[in-house]
């Protein structure tokens, strides 16, 4: 039975992926490209060690974004504001990190704490508005995204600008090396060949993994996690069961925002060491797709983040070889999301009716055993 359960759980994402490949192939055919060539090109480029390193680096922020969104989803809160939360958090954390001088571990710890606090506080605004002013979180977080991005644009050009920079770059001052997160190249190279120069696997991937484990433990093993899930499953029953719905909304937004605050740190701590105009935007929105494909489950979100990260890392070869535009990968990602959502629903229905049958059988069997004992 557990084998059937596992295969059912895997059936949905596999079907979704196969369907997406099929549909994207049709798009490629319409462009006049041979899809087999394009896919095999991507596959051979995508299985190089350097592409895997790139995949890890791209998947780390996507994973954090997916978890931030999933925390909200688990109690039916739609935190669209992950985007604004992480960009604002990254800017302020980078600035604070550059302004202080601390021993290595403490320095990184402070930057992480600042990022989480900023993300949390900014998400908390949406939580407060929902509880005390009845503003739906979708509306408020979309608005707050605009506020955050405008604030970032303003702060970066004024108070947080690195005045000493002579290259006309618009950037914050650089964080001292004590605030740099070490890379994992040495660790990887124990198992593989040497990674080509210029490629580094950002160490922050370990933090992301810890966040995933904590998310799982919190949700499934703690009472506040149970309250959060219960509210997501049925807010009315949860309220009757003693869960304070308003406190749960605020708490969930704070938690979601805290994780969102981490999204920008892999890049800042691992590579850029400043916040500048090259900072990656849009991860908050991609996080929604990653959470959807990953079913808001810490393991599922990891798979989805790695898939998205790998597609992003392997796609550029299509441009280089001229087989197909790399944008085909964006189409592929979009179709994966849509078909995954549909496939999950189908599998869910199959599972539900199977369970209902089992329950009916159990009910029948105990009836029979009762009548046997009485006769």
């Amino acid at each position: 039975m557990s084998i059937r359960r596992v295969s059912l759980a895997l059936a949905a994402p596999v079907c979704a992926f196969v369907f997406s490949i099929g549909l994207s192939s049709l798009v490629l055919l319409a462009f006049g490209t041979n899809p087999m060539d394009a896919w095999s090109e991507m596959l051979s480029y995508g299985t190089r060690l350097e592409t895997f390193v790139e995949t890890g680096n791209r998947a780390t922020p996507l994973y954090l974004a997916g978890i931030a969104v999933a925390i909200g989803f688990r109690m039916n809160l739609f935190n669209i504001g992950v985007e604004g939360q992480y960009v604002l958090a990254a800017l302020l954390a980078a600035s604070v990190g550059a302004a202080v001088d601390l021993p290595p571990v403490l320095h990184i710890g402070l930057i992480i704490a600042v990022a989480m606090s900023v993300g949390s506080a900014f998400a908390g605004v949406a939580g407060y508005l929902k509880v005390h002013r009845g503003v739906h979180e979708v509306i408020s977080t979309i608005m707050l995204n605009a506020v955050a991005l405008a604030a970032v644009g303003f702060l970066l050009r004024t108070w947080l600008l690195d005045e000493s920079d002579t290259t006309l770059n618009i950037t914050t001052p650089e964080i001292a090396p004590s605030g740099w997160f070490p890379n994992l190249n040495k660790l990887v190279e124990v198992f593989t060949r040497e990674i080509s120069r210029g490629r580094e696997l950002w160490g922050f991937i370990l933090v992301a993994a810890v966040v995933g484990v904590l998310f799982h433990v919190f949700l499934n093993r703690t009472r506040p996690g149970y309250d959060l899930r219960a509210t997501g499953l049925n807010p009315f029953a949860a309220a009757a069961g003693g869960v304070d719905p308003e406190a749960t909304v605020v708490r969930t937004m704070l938690l979601s925002g805290a994780v969102a605050g981490l999204i920008g740190l892999p890049q800042i701590l691992g590579d850029a060491h400043t916040y500048d105009l090259g900072f990656a935007r849009g991860l908050g929105f991609t996080g929604i797709a990653v959470a959807l494909v990953g079913r808001n489950h810490p393991g599922g979100v990891a798979v989805a983040a790695l898939l998205f990260g790998w597609l992003d890392s392997a796609a550029p070869i299509l441009d280089v070889r001229g087989d197909a535009p790399r944008e085909i990968v964006s189409i592929l990602q979009g179709v994966v999301v849509l078909s995954a959502v549909v496939a999950y629903e189908v599998v869910n229905r199959i599972r539900q009716s199977a369970e209902a049958r089992e329950a009916a059988v159990a009910s029948q069997q105990s009836l029979e055993s009762v009548s046997r004992t009485t006769t």
């Binding site: 499934n220 093993r221 703690t222 009472r223 506040p224 996690g225 149970y226 309250d227 899930r229 219960a230 499953l233 049925n234 009315f236 029953a237 949860a238 309220a239 009757a240 069961g241 003693g242 869960v243 304070d244 539900q352 369970e355 209902a356 089992e358 329950a359 009916a360 059988v361 159990a362 009910s363 105990s366 009836l367």
Partner: protein, 515 residues
Amino acid sequence: MAPDSTTPPVVQLSGITKRFPGVVANDRVDLQVANGEIHAVVGENGAGKSTLMKILYGMIPADEGQMLVGGAEVRFSSPSEAIDSGIGMVHQHFMLADHLTVLENVILGAEPTKRGIIDRTAARRDLEDLGRSYGLDLDPEDFVESLEVGERQRVEIIKVLYRGAKVLILDEPTSVLVPQEVEKLFHNLRELKSRGHTIIFIDHKLDEVLAIADTITVLRHGRTVATVSSSDVTTAELAELMVGSELPKPSTEPRVPDPHVTLSVRSATVLGDDERPLVDAVDLDVYRGEILGVAGVEGNGQGELVEAILGLRALSEGELFLDGEQITHWPVRRRREAGLGYVPEDRHRRGLLLDAPLWENAMLGHQTQRPFARGAWLNRSGAREATAQIVADFDVRTPGVDTKARALSGGNQQKLVIGRELSAQPRMLIAAHPTRGIDVGAQAAVWDELRKARRNGMAVLLISADLEELIGLADRLVVMLRGRVTAEMDPSTATPRLLGSHMTGASADEQGTKE
């Protein structure tokens, strides 16, 4: 125009049976409606009125039985087929688009077109004709959002007439109206009748039914009890038909008097959104080891009273005491931890996490307590063992504690909820319709458990629409009507007639006419 007895009945339902999992909503129901009459269908909540109307209107299929419309057998698989046969329905909750005009709402889905474009001139002409001939005055260009409730109802009626309905079903049309609007509605209905329309009218306010209907069919427990002419019957007789004439013998054992008050409700008042009191200065005392029954037609403040006691609704006035301790301002969790148990009237909405496994459902409401939690951590193995115990003790039929609650039948879901609440050994249990929608076997099991808990000193506030249940279980009975406690009686001497007339307010009306 008197009902025409020479032509065949315009609607004839015979032997209609509809089963839902674990419950028979309609049990061989017969209904015969003559052409051109106003026919009322009355009965308590849960008597099967709405189910019957939904079957007639093609919203749900009947399991058994025959439907004749205008003498021809029909079998509707959707409302549009019913509409084609000249049957229209005005729902209790209006189905109108607020941001469209009256005209747009009326033609929505049945737009007259000229070369593919909506012919507004023709639509407007038709609508004004209809309004004039039935006295249903409305401005076609008004937006629905600006209309009063009574006007919205008129839009719904016109909508149905516009689609050519000859038979109109109105589902509790007066429940949303103030008295003056009820008068206007009745005037419109008589107008419709005089123009040859037939009206089927669902209600449980007996004075209204007698004022408007020609013929009355009474349903009880999903069965047709009687069809009477409104001129031959009084409100008291109707009330008796509705609630049943034979009440079961009280089967509860005599209570050892215990003067300890477990729950005390002092002049509790709950206001609705429109500042009108839903619960109006209610005083109740529930003693240790006592079941206090609350009778009443649904929607008379029982649900709000329960939510206020539990802490889901704030009292605007009054106080609550549990074992003498003031709990008026405690949050829900603190009340639950102090020993307040709750069996909700709607287990799907208030009682269960349908997509969570049984063991997670068994801890809901008790998640802060042993054996379900240790501090901030869940005790998964403890919770599963406790759930297995509930499943065994309360005969919940399930493949295991990991099965999702959704997979279980209604009766087994309810046994899980009852088991969850009783196994926590609360001091005070609030049980709202604890046996609604479950089969007879499960019902008897629930009753036994309540009696057992009462014997062990638990106080129970039992809200029910089932008089058999109330009389059979309760030590004392109170009746709620329009948010107030209007009567208190001893279940061993309560007659159905008396209870029915208190529940429907017929006793007050009779006194009123005497004075």
